[in-house]
């Protein structure tokens, strides 16, 4: 029970931290990091919600897995764009 609440608070806290950072930073890399932390927080919430007496629900686990893979793809695109923006600025 205590563990559950601890991780719930972690999930909510990660979401809050990430949103705060996203709202207050104009830095490209920080925005990428913030979005990733936000996603981790949401995943934590999904898993905490899926906990039950007979183990953790497999469906939210699948959701989280999908979310992780989606996010790495998006992150790669974000970083590629950010690098090109920096390059163009240098030129």
């Amino acid at each position: 029970m205590i563990s559950e609440y601890a991780f719930l608070a972690t999930g909510a806290g990660l979401v809050g931290l990430a949103l705060l950072r996203l709202a207050t930073s104009a830095d490209l890399l920080m925005r990428v990091l913030g979005l990733n932390v936000l996603a981790v927080g949401i995943a934590m919430l999904l898993l905490v919600s899926g906990m039950g007496a007979s183990g953790t629900d497999a469906v939210p686990q699948a959701f989280v897995l999908t979310g992780i893979v989606v996010l790495v793809g998006v992150t790669a695109v974000l970083l590629a764009l950010a690098e090109r923006i920096a390059e163009d600025r240098d030129e």
Binding site: I2, A18, T56, V64, L71, V72, V74
Partner: protein, 297 residues
């Protein structure tokens, strides 16, 4: 004892995340993120989700961390403007409000998930013993197919945007922290996946990520020559995953009348076939996401 461990772990996650987000130094921030990821994956083991923990360690922390490290130096810091305190307070209040709403929503009485019993009832027919694999590749394979499509689109965009290729250096300063953390993990998880097989935690994504991770590490240290990455074949391998999955979905519909409905009794074969194709395709995709296209347009 364990609850105490969990509370400490939870606190550590928050602290490291806060560090990652607010520390000025780029490498420190990325390292903080990496540590957060690893701690999170540990916490997910504690939450009874080893598949996800594996994926988070390999992809969420590992590969994303590698990508961030690659880019950290190439993306200049935005001149940090001091935000007016009022804005800070507003943003903080909003963040706290949302966090509070989340906690309240999750802890309020909610209906029990409908899925566990459904998954348990249908697991024998699913062709997979691991319920997560059953969900991913059978019950909700449609999600997974679209997820592969996301990877496909991401790869297309990265190839189009074409960032500069990472410099390969035999274990240069860029690689060291990453290799130090990732290589042991790669070996560990790879071994785990091999050992447990298809019935336990693990699957195409984790395996693909581990393969990609190893390949990236070897690529960065110059072990895999740029010859391989210049081959068009790798890109074709990457996109083959989506094509094969889509064709399999349609083929299943021809056979059974249901999109992605595997023929009775053969689900396991279908799943293994799709998974092996996906593993290779995912590995190629992730590798190319890291290295980018061979040539710039």
């Amino acid at each position: 004892m364990l609850p105490v461990f969990d509370v400490v772990l939870a606190a550590a996650i928050l602290v490291s995340a806060a560090l990652a987000l607010w520390v000025r130094d780029r490498i420190a921030a990325v390292s903080g993120f990496l540590v957060t990821g690893l701690l999170v994956s540990l916490s997910w083991l504690r939450l009874g989700a080893p598949d996800v923990a594996l994926a988070e360690a390999a992809i969420g922390a590992g590969l994303t961390g590698a990508l961030l490290l690659r880019s950290a130096h190439r993306i200049p810091c935005a001149p940090s403007k001091a935000l007016p305190p009022s804005l800070w307070c507003a943003a903080g209040a909003l963040a706290i409000a949302i966090s509070g709403a989340i906690v309240w929503t999750v802890t309020s009485f909610g209906a029990a998930p409908v899925y566990p019993s459904l998954v348990a009832d249908n697991l024998p027919e699913s062709g997979a013993q691991n319920p997560v694999t059953a969900v991913l590749l059978n019950f909700r394979a449609w999600d997974t197919l679209l997820e592969i499509a996301v990877l496909f689109v991401a790869l297309t965009v990265v190839i189009m945007v074409a960032p500069a290729r990472p410099r390969t250096a035999p274990l240069g300063p860029l690689v060291q922290p990453f290799a130090r953390v990732l290589l042991p993990l790669t070996v560990l998880i790879g071994g785990h996946l091999l050992w447990q097989g298809g019935h336990a935690p693990g699957g195409a994504f984790q395996a693909g990520a581990v393969l990609a991770g190893g390949a990236i590490a070897l690529g960065l240290s110059g072990v895999i020559g740029s010859k391989l990455t210049r081959q068009n074949g790798l890109a074709l391998l990457a996109i083959a995953g989506l094509a094969i999955f889509a064709l399999a979905a349609l083929a299943a519909e021809v056979l059974t009348g249901a999109l992605l409905g595997y023929p009775a009794g053969e689900a396991k074969t279908w799943i293994i076939a799709i998974e092996s194709a996906l593993t290779l395709s995912i590995a190629a995709t992730l590798f190319l996401l890291f290295f980018g296209p061979a040539e710039r347009h």
